[in-house]
């Protein structure tokens, strides 16, 4: 009987209506799951970021007069900001490639046939778990002017170096950074290396490819995504190096260690809202550009290796 009522137009409409209803319901359900996070992010990050953007064009927190790009020019011409940016960039430029390269070498080492691999991996991952604040004392014992390293060097007739108050301080911080971050990067690389198809390595070995050749022709193409991931993570961590600097050298470190966060802290303590907001926006844009370049480079390189 129902067959007689069959009306294709009606059925189609009903189907479309049903589909739309389901779509709307789906949207509500999944937006429901997202809501707590989204509200929080809007309230604590994106919303205030907009206020920061607006305030960066105003004279000060109390005087809302529009001043155009004055604040940006002020920050840009600020000597402390320049020093801090250059120091941060120099540090990232040295520390990030080193952190990637050394971690990759360590991962290759721990992927080879040496005994006790898993023990070594645990030990090398350990520094990641140790708060910087609690090993700062040992670092000070090592590197202070009357410290252990200078004493040991004295035995060999090498002159004392004022580690924390010369350009050597960069090296001290670099060693601390590598100590802390190599383990994490290494675990990422070990996972990536073990994901390289074994048959390809075997057949290359049969064809007489040496270890170096096998690394560059087979492993490396598979490792590119991980190299970029590790690079980005290390970059983020290199921006956090202020923590180490602060714990080792306090509020007023040697010039070479004056990082962007030091600059921001000083602006916070002076309540200099105009410079603070403008600097935050500049850094935000710089960060987006850097990450964007990395993403584009990864896409390019990833495509090259696939072909």
């Amino acid at each position: 009987m129902a067959a007689h009522d069959y009306n294709p137009e009606e059925v189609r409409k009903r189907r479309i209506r049903g589909r739309r209803k389901r779509k709307i319901r789906e949207w509500f359900v999944f937006t429901g799951y997202l809501t707590p996070s989204l509200l929080g992010v809007l309230l604590f990050f994106f919303g205030p970021m907009m206020i920061v953007l607006v305030q960066s064009f105003q004279r000060s927190a109390t005087n809302t007069e529009f001043v155009g790009f004055d604040n940006y020019v002020n920050v840009w011409n600020n000597q402390a900001f320049r020093t801090a940016s250059i120091n941060t960039l120099i540090f990232a430029g040295i520390a990030v490639p080193l952190a990637v390269l050394l971690a990759l070498l360590l991962a290759l080492l721990l992927s080879s046939k040496i005994p006790g691999k898993s023990v070594f991996r645990s030990i090398m991952l350990n520094p990641m778990m140790v708060p910087v604040a609690s090993i700062v004392l040992i670092w000070q014992v090592m590197f202070s002017y009357n410290g252990a390293l200078n004493t040991y060097m004295g035995w060999f007739g090498i002159d004392k170096i004022d580690w924390m108050k010369s350009d050597w301080s960069r090296l001290v911080i670099l060693i601390l950074f590598l100590w802390k971050n190599l383990g994490y990067n290494m675990v990422l690389f070990i996972a990536a290396i073990s994901a390289v198809p074994q048959e390809q390595l075997e057949s290359a070995k049969m064809d007489g490819a040496g270890a170096v050749r096998r690394f560059f022709s087979i492993k490396l193409p598979y490792l590119w995504p991980t190299i970029f991931f590790v690079g980005i993570m290390s970059l983020i961590n290199s921006f956090k190096i202020f923590r180490e600097v602060y714990l080792l050298a306090g509020d007023y470190p040697y010039d070479a260690l004056y990082m962007l966060q030091n600059f921001m802290n000083n602006m916070f303590s002076h309540l200099d809202n105009a410079k603070l907001t403008a600097a935050a926006i500049i850094m935000c844009i710089a960060m987006i550009i850097i990450v964007g370049i990395l993403f584009i480079a990864e896409n390019k390189l990833g495509r090259d290796t696939e072909e």
Partner: protein, 354 residues
């Protein structure tokens, strides 16, 4: 057996012998010569081949062994470097306060003048000993029973970190489930902005945090740190990466059985991502246990500061107990590491693979 496999020329002669009698082809001429070799000569050739292979094998295993040893030594050196600061801190925490002072006062005297321009040049070389003469628990005694500040700061740290970790895991799981299951173009844009937010350094995010804390009147309270911590997007990024790896057939099957989204979330998604959630919790715990930037800016009151900030303000007079304080501070993360290393390694490993 193994030797036979390596030895060249082994089974050919006898086989050839039979064939040459049947066929009178050109091959005969060559192979007849082989046949002519006496048993002794063949045996000699075998012997030579075997010795050759053996020698080559020995060289190869020798070089292999050398490389393995070198690699082992290198790994050992790196591991020693990784452990050294931790071990020294623990050892030094068992020195008595007096011993610390005689050993390290030179170091810390020069440090306390760090802010002023003058450098302290000591005429006498400082005594630097790493290993205590006598095990003494005096540091711990002072720390735990005589000066309540340290314990107070320790509990400050706990009170800050635990809500952040639990809250962010809860909020993050819900949000990542949404991002993993509902994939439309606009959502992907939102997800990308979450990723960008995750990548932002403190130098950027602390300014809006400070602003909003002032507006909400929670500046200089723990909420100013806890709330932004709970809604930080780090966990969303990694967890949704995991949840996207769940095969859709599982979800379809559950749907056919009449499961609603909540059932799918709690009965399928969370159990399958258990190790990722644990790993995430460990990572978050380390990150916030270690925090310095946020409390420095968002907490004015030094009595509310966590131990991580306080440890850096130790001056020469308190050096006597600083090592024990450091050790107590690193103890919770180390215990968590011992307990959850498997999860952590697995979680990190899978986060890097796309």
């Amino acid at each position: 057996m193994k030797r036979n496999e390596i030895t060249p020329l082994n089974p050919i002669p006898s086989k050839v012998k039979e064939e040459t009698h049947e066929h009178g082809s050109i091959r005969d001429l060559k192979e007849v010569e082989i046949v002519r070799l006496s048993e002794e000569e063949i045996e000699k050739m075998h012997e030579k081949g075997r010795a050759d292979a053996k020698r080559r094998m020995r060289i190869r295993t020798a070089t292999g062994r050398i490389w393995t040893t070198l690699g082992f030594l290198l790994a050992f050196a790196v591991a020693a470097f990784a452990l050294m600061p931790i071990v020294l801190t623990i050892l030094d925490s068992f020195m008595s306060t007096d011993e610390i002072k005689t050993n390290y006062s030179a170091v810390y005297n020069s440090l306390s003048s760090a802010s002023s321009e003058t450098k302290v040049y000591l005429s006498s070389t400082p005594k630097l000993k790493m290993i205590p003469d006598m095990v003494s628990f005096s540091q711990y005694k002072t720390l735990l029973f005589l000066s309540p500040t340290y314990l107070l700061k320790f509990w400050n740290s706990v009170a800050l970190v635990v809500p952040i970790v639990l809250g962010q895991i809860l909020v993050g799981c819900l949000a990542s489930y949404s991002f993993a299951r509902y994939r439309r173009k606009r959502r992907e844009v939102l997800f990308f902005s979450y990723v960008i937010l995750m990548l932002m350094p403190f130098q950027v995010t602390l300014v809006p945090n400070y602003l909003i804390a002032n507006k909400l009147g929670i500046y200089n309270t723990w909420w100013a740190i806890i709330l932004p911590g709970v809604f930080s997007t780090f966990s969303v990024f990694l967890l949704s990466k995991y949840m996207r790896q769940i095969p859709s057939s599982y979800i379809e099957a559950a749907k056919l059985d009449g499961a609603n989204e909540w059932n799918i979330f709690t009965k399928i998604c969370l159990p399958m991502c258990k190790s990722a959630v644990y790993a995430m919790a460990i990572l978050l715990f380390i990150d916030y246990w270690n925090m310095v930037e946020q409390p420095l800016i968002l907490l004015e009151d030094s009595s509310k500061q966590p131990l991580s900030v306080f440890l850096s303000q130790i001056n020469a007079s308190e050096v006597g107990v600083a090592f024990a304080a450091s050790f107590i501070f690193m103890l919770p993360p180390l215990l968590i590491f011992l307990y959850g290393e498997q999860y952590l390694v697995e979680g990190i490993s899978r986060s890097g693979i796309k």
